[in-house]
Structures are given as structure tokens and as C-alpha cells.
Symmetry: C2
Subunit: 329 residues, 2 copies
């Protein structure tokens, strides 16, 4: 592979001139430029990014840490990030942390060594202090970490209230909540939203809040238990779509008809919700937008452009599909 010195020799100029042509900065005589371009073309020269990065301290590479790309929420987010980054000439390194602090630390270390320009986190097992010590721009998506760190989230509590109220409005007499893991902040917020709405109801009891882990399997089992122990539950608000699907499977197994006997609302709006039957009613987060906005925010941070809002809270939207009854109001 040809390097810049080969080009400069062939063009009969110095490396500085070639570099100027490449980067379009400094003065270069049009004739000289032509000679250089011709040489570049002849040698099929492409500049070496690694060398450039070494003097620049810019790699045009960012890291994206997600818990598990296999979880249907994250591919869409990753896609958004990649799409935006591509536009601006950045490349994305994908990391799966499994919500494991050790793994996250490991990636922090590696990514730092690799001189990434920025980092997008869709996970947050990491202590905040470590994140602040990491002297590379960071944007957190879907998890609030601390006011000091640029963040993109959806209105979790508001969405949860909306869903719960909707279930009541359609006539549900006893609504349960399948909540996400204690350690995840958005799970907490969604649970709070649910509690806000049902707290005063005479039928409400804390045992209507079921502990899930954002995965189908556990949700399935817990829902089986719930529906056998408390058969009068006729509405479930699940903390995410996967758990809602787990709940649906439990109901289907128990021959409970959806939505007639049991209405279910999920949270997230992953495409998977449209692939199942009946299609899942859900509180949709703008997943792609969250990724795209986070990515744009990160680029601004990297390039020192002014960022209008370091804390973006995006609206959620209820999507009525097959697991809820129509309400005519």
C-alpha cells in the first residue's frame, strides 16, 4: 500500500503539500494540486487512518455499549446510532455488557486505549464517578445516570400512568403490574407511574406488583402464578414489551382470552409487538429517535458544538393494537 511519501515523490512535491491537498487546508497552487491528485490516483493511495489518528488524537470511532444486542430493544437503537454516525463519518464499536459492571469496566478500558472519540451507553451498571473519570464525551440513552451526564430518555412515569389509566378506562377492575428489575431506573419510574394511578383504589394491594426481569421467560412464569392465584386480575401493565409477551403466552396457555378477559399493555414499542398475534398494545418509546438524538448529541459534544439540551426527555405514545379493548368515548 502506497503511503504519503510515495505520493509526494511521484508528484515531485513534499509530504506537507500532499497532506494539504488531502485535507484541503493551507495554500496549494492549482497546478500542484492536479499533480498530487494525479499521483494519488495512479498509486491508488488512500490515507492511513491510524497514522492520522495518532497525530490528530481523533479516531472517528465511537463505542456503543448495550446490555445485549440480542434483546429486541437494542438493535433498533444500535441501527439509529450507526445510521447517524455514518453520516458524520464515524464508525461504531459494538459492546455487550450483560449489565455486568466488570464487563463494562473492561470495555471502558479497551475503548479508551483505542482512543475512541465518544461513547454511547444504553446500560448503567457503572458508578457515576467512573464515568466522569472517563475523559471522553459520553451520552447515556434510556437510563438516567446523573444530572451531570448528557442523557436521552423517554417519559417513563408519564407513559406508565397513561397505560394504567387506559386499562381502567376500558373497564378493567383489577390491574396488575409486571415490573422490571429493581436496579434499572426506568423500571422504577414505570412502576411509580403505575402506583400513582392505582394507589387509591380499594382493590389495590402491593401483591399486584410482580417482580420481573425484563425477560419473557420469567414474566411467563410469574404471570402464570399471578393468574392462577388471583384469577380476577383482568388487566396487566407490563414494564416492557418482552414481559407483556410473556404474560400473553401465560394467558394463552391458561386459555384466557385476550383482550376480552385480560387486557395487556406493554412498554417500548419494539417491532416484535407487531409480529405476534394478537398484536401488542403498547406505550411506544421513539426508540430509533432516541438513538439518533443521542448520536447527534454525542457528535456535538465531540466536535465542541453547542448542545442546546443536555437532558432530553422524549414523549411516549400509546399504540392501540390487539391486546386492549377499544374504548368509545
Amino acid at each position: 500500500m502506497a503511503n504519503i511519501r510515495d505520493v509526494s515523490k511521484l508528484a515531485g512535491v513534499s509530504v506537507a503539500t500532499v497532506s494539504r491537498v488531502l485535507n484541503q487546508n493551507g495554500y496549494v497552487h492549482p497546478d500542484t494540486e492536479q499533480k498530487v491528485l494525479k499521483a494519488i490516483n495512479e498509486l491508488n493511495y488512500i490515507p492511513n487512518f491510524v497514522a492520522r489518528s495518532l497525530s490528530n488524537k481523533k479516531t472517528k470511532t465511537i463505542g456503543l455499549i448495550v446490555p445485549d444486542i440480542t434483546n429486541p430493544f437494542f438493535p433498533e437503537l444500535a441501527r439509529a446510532v450507526e445510521d447517524v454516525m455514518k453520516i458524520y463519518g464515524y464508525t461504531v464499536i459494538l459492546c455487550n455488557s450483560d449489565e455486568d459492571e466488570e464487563k463494562e469496566k473492561h470495555y471502558f478500558q479497551i475503548l479508551k486505549q483505542k482512543y475512541i472519540d465518544g461513547l454511547i451507553l444504553a446500560t448503567a451498571s457503572m458508578p457515576i464517578s467512573d464515568m466522569q473519570a472517563f475523559d471522553v464525551p459520553i451520552v447515556v440513552i434510556d437510563r438516567i445516570v446523573s444530572q451531570g451526564i448528557p442523557t436521552v430518555v423517554a417519559k417513563n412515569k408519564e407513559g406508565a400512568r397513561l397505560a394504567t389509566r387506559l386499562l381502567l378506562k376500558q373497564g378493567c377492575k383489577k390491574v396488575a403490574h409486571l415490573r422490571g428489575p429493581e436496579s434499572v431506573i426506568n423500571a422504577r419510574e414505570r412502576c411509580e407511574g403505575y402506583v400513582d394511578v392505582v394507589r387509591e383504589k380499594e382493590w389495590f394491594h402491593p401483591n399486584l406488583i410482580i417482580q420481573g426481569n425484563y425477560e419473557i421467560k420469567k414474566a411467563f412464569h410469574e404471570t402464570m402464578k399471578l393468574l392462577t392465584e388471583q384469577p380476577d386480575v383482568d388487566g396487566i401493565f407490563a414494564g416492557n414489551d418482552l414481559m407483556a409477551i410473556g404474560a400473553m403466552k401465560a394467558a394463552q396457555q391458561l386459555k384466557i382470552r385476550i383482550p376480552d378477559e385480560l387486557a395487556i399493555i406493554g412498554f417500548d414499542g419494539i417491532t416484535l409487538g407487531e409480529m405476534i398475534f394478537p398484536e401488542l398494545s403498547t406505550v411506544a418509546q421513539p426508540i430509533y429517535d432516541m438513538g439518533a438524538i443521542g448520536a447527534r448529541m454525542l457528535i456535538k459534544l465531540i466536535e465542541n458544538s453547542p448542545v442546546d439540551k443536555l437532558y432530553q426527555q422524549l414523549d411516549v405514545q400509546f399504540i392501540e393494537r390487539g391486546t386492549t379493548r377499544k374504548v368509545c368515548d
Copy 2:
């Protein structure tokens, strides 16, 4: 951030010695080593990967090009690749090509500039000549490109035959095939497998082969058309799980009972198949294994270890779930 010269100064040795300690090569006196380690510790020094890459010409980074990470087949593959690469200290750059030749070329160019050590392709819009010109080790997964290029695939034709025979065995009288795009080789193979089995049947007619594009939506519409025009079709072998799901939705819409009136078998074995109701019977490829094996193969190619087989064809396995009738034999 401290660099190697700072360390050498603090330890009172030369940079060469520090480098030798870091890389555990060459002779270093134990006492000297201790001094160096102490200095490294004190300065919190971590070596700069970019600089290392520049002289090494090894970045410990590979590229992974998939059509679209949003397609449920690829996250599992990506996860496998990332898991294996992590073990060996490599990092993965994720690229979405949308099966678009231009985008693929663009990534080839960028990745080359970034000095990646190897490339995994799960897409193949690229002419073979371009791939051979790319002087970096490549492994292709799920798409056969050419005998010259290391490849990991599943036994597509065999799996297709298996599925089609199974449908017949359970008593289907007229089995249609929803095929994938013409341009994708595995779609062709699966179609051939289907034709192998039904060619001789008196009911067979080429209009039982329906053109899909591996996506749900089109499969849904085409199946709607098929089932209304030829209501006697009682079995569908779909070229992938997504299309099978599209077909299921069409049947559900038309109130055709699955599997009693219509049996469906998919291909791939994506986890999505277990999330729907009824769960999808499918010819499962070992997706994770394909990724993992491909990744291991790539590492061997990169590190010049001997590779036993440059062309790995993995077994598929029929998974009987809810969209087929049990056969008692």
C-alpha cells in the same frame, strides 16, 4: 495521559525496556521490571493502542457487515461474533449494508483505512473480485460467495427438503413455498430443496412458489393472495422465519386455523419464533454457532494459524412447535 517516555523517565530506564516489560518479550532483569511496573502503576499508564497499531499494523479490531441489525437473525450472530472476539482481545465494528453494494463498498474502504485485522460478512452484494482485492482476511457467514473464500453456512437445501417432506408426511395435500429474494443464494438453495421434493407430485405447479423478500410484510400480502386464490393449500414452507410469521398472520386474518387447516414451517430458528403464538415450527440453523465458528475461523486466518476447513457447512435441525401437527410414526 502518561506515555511510555514518562514511564521510562520515572523508572530511570529506556523506552525499549518499558516496551519489553509491557510486551513480555526480550530480556529484562527482574529488578528493572519491578521498577518499571512501579512507574506504570504510579502514572496510571495504559499503552496507546493507536500508536501500537501504527508500528504493528495490527489493530485488534475486526469489521462485521450485516444487512440490517434490526432483522432478528443478525443480533444473535453479532452477539456470537462479539463474544468470541472479546475472548481473543478483538473489538467489533458494526456496519449495516442494507444489501446495498454502494454501502458495502463504502465500508470496505473505511474499514481498510482503519486498518482492521479482519472482516466478517453476513451479506454478499459485493462482487467476488472486490473481496479478493481486499487484502484483509474475510469470512463469509450464511452466504456462499465462492469456493475461494472462507465460509460458514448451514445445510440449506437439506433443511428445505426435510421441512417439505415433513409437511407431506403429516398429511399436507398441497404445499406451497414462500421463497426469499432471487439474489440471495441461500434462498435459491432452499427453493431447490423444496422443488426436489415436490417436483414429481401431480399437484405441483410453479405458481405454488411465491416470491418473497425475507420480510414479514410482503410475505403477509403474498400469502393473503395465495390463500384466497388457492384455498386448498394446506402447507407452507417459508424460506425464513420472518416470512413464516407473515404467513401466519395472513392465516390468522383469514381465520384459517393453524396447524389444523394450514401447517407452516419456517427456516432459521430465530428466538422470535418462540415468542409468538402458536410457536413456530422451523428448521433451525445454529445461528450462534455460525457466528462463533466464523469468528474463530477469522481469528485463525488473522493469526496465521492453520485452519482445518475453510468451508464449514453446519447441520440444521427441525424444531417441532405449534404450527405443525404431530405425526405419530
